[in-house]
């Protein structure tokens, strides 16, 4: 058995490396000093583990093997191990590994490690190599994987500081996989990094949606990214998209307008009411009613009543909303749930 090798066949080396890195993660302080490796525990076949060099190359090869045929737990562990170890590795070594990688899954993992490093140390320039790869690689799968490497960090802020590439650029990519990765990334960042409160992320999503030639992707961005802190330009763009040719996109814009902040609520309400009379697509009108309720909550009753005569077929929909509003519920997610219970 090759104990010092770096390939996938080097199972023992990988296990020993885990011990070394575990000690590193447990003990490293501000100066980076760690406890000595304790190779006393027996391995899978009763042999004592031996310490192995803590090199990025070995770790990447072990990760590659885990991603190829390891259990989900091992994959998750190896991904986390790389991400944590990257906080203390030479950044140039990480960049070089990222630049040389050709396997999409490993590339994404290395991107996540680099981006986490950038987030931890406050060096947005570190993500330039990720953005460059996501824009410039000839292989669409690698461009998408590089972009997915930004998952979990404040990439909109970092990209603004680092270079100026935007998500609108990625939504113009010719490859569907890259465009889908950009949408996934923005939705994740909005929900998991900012919990829906970050205006620049909302604005980036609206701009990206406007730049997209794929109405389904644009609709997903508008439907899933919070507009709570969207700026006036974004609100104006959403109003424009109420007139889009695609009904799914119009419906998403209507729901997005329902989520804008108080400063823009009157603009949004007027646009929604106007569109309700002009639009003949049922799904758009249903979305407009939802948007109006979210904007006004209990105060939306008069406007709902005023729209009854526009489309008698939607009378039961308006009745359902009025019934839910009469419950005086305090949270939008619960209001939505009750509405769906009454009238899915």
């Amino acid at each position: 058995m090759n104990r010092s090798g770096h390939g996938r066949s080097s199972r023992w080396s990988g296990a020993a490396l885990l011990v070394a890195l575990s000690s590193l993660l447990l003990a490293a302080g501000p100066g980076g000093s760690g406890q000595p490796v304790q190779p006393a525990q027996p391995g899978a076949a009763g042999r004592p583990l031996e310490s192995a060099p803590c090199s990025l190359r070995v770790m990447v090869e072990d990760l590659r093997g885990a991603l190829a045929d390891g259990s989900p737990s091992l994959q998750r562990y190896m991904l986390t191990l790389l991400k944590e170890a990257a906080l203390r590795m030479p950044v140039d070594e990480l960049r070089a590994a990222f630049a040389a990688e050709r396997d999409p899954k490993v590339l994404e993992a290395l991107g996540i490690a680099l981006a986490t490093r950038a987030s931890n140390t406050g060096e947005p320039a570190v993500i330039e190599s990720i953005v460059d790869r996501a824009r410039g690689d000839a292989d669409p799968a690698l461009r998408a994987a590089a972009l997915s490497g930004l998952r979990g960090v404040g990439s909109v802020e970092m990209m603004n500081k680092a270079r100026g590439a935007t998500y609108a650029d990625f939504l113009r990519d010719p490859a569907p996989a890259v465009r889908a990765a950009a949408v996934d990334k923005l939705v994740h960042e909005d929900a998991q990094v900012y919990f829906g409160h970050e205006g620049p992320v909302s604005d980036a999503a609206v701009k990206a949606a406007a730049a997209s030639s794929d109405p389904a992707l644009a609709a997903r961005l508008l439907a899933e990214v919070s507009m709570e802190a969207a700026g006036p330009e974004s609100v104006a763009t959403l109003v424009q998209q109420l007139g889009s040719a695609d009904p799914t996109l119009r419906a998403a814009a209507a729901r997005a307008l329902g989520g804008v902040g108080g400063a823009h609520s009157e603009t949004a309400r007027r646009a929604l009411v106007e569109r309700y009379g002009a639009d003949d697509a049922r799904e758009v009108r249903v979305a407009i009613l939802e948007g109006l309720v979210q904007l006004g909550l209990g105060g939306a009753r008069p406007v709902l009543e005023s729209l009854r005569g526009v489309d008698p077929e939607l009378g039961p929909e308006i009745d359902a909303w009025l019934q839910v509003l009469a419950m005086n519920l305090q949270q939008w997610s619960i209001i939505l749930r009750e509405k769906q219970r009454l009238r899915p």
Partner: protein
Amino acid sequence: MAKTPTGVLPSRTFAITLLCAVAVALALPSSSTAATKTARGPICESTARVGSTTFYSCNGSTHTALDISNQSCSEWNHRGMILGSVKYNLFGGCAANCANPPPNPNCNGGAGNYYVVNGANGWEFRQLHFNPSVNTFTRTCDRCALGLVGATGHAFGAHSHSDNRQFGTRKSAWYTSVGTTCGTSGFCDRVVGKPTL
């Protein structure tokens, strides 16, 4: 050697068992609006310890938060505790302090210099009392240095106060659920809680 239910190779099976010895905490993904995050200690020094939890010094009046100290002041970084990138919103303006009692205990209502991470549905995570440094500004980051362990506001002795609140009410389950109590390590590689955000 028994195989795991997933049937992984023996060496990998063993590798998984090493998880027990590794302080790598995994953030739990959540499909709900509010999510559970992982919080680690705010001080990267092994002597950092929890001094107060639900009650001051664990037997005093109500506190419902974690106080963590390494008995130093304006020396060690006060780091963001949430594992993963989140936005730390700064509420600053208090002069650095290491004196006990503090000369300006009412600064920012007693919180001193502090950061707030705003979550969903009224949830928030706060870190209080730090002294300012070059790293003190509103930022989105993953366990970055936010300031120095200090004693601004109503702080008798330099420490990091952290709490998890919903609509202003402090909760305790985020740290009791992982067994954090007085004397628990507050080192930056140790999980001290699972706050909701």
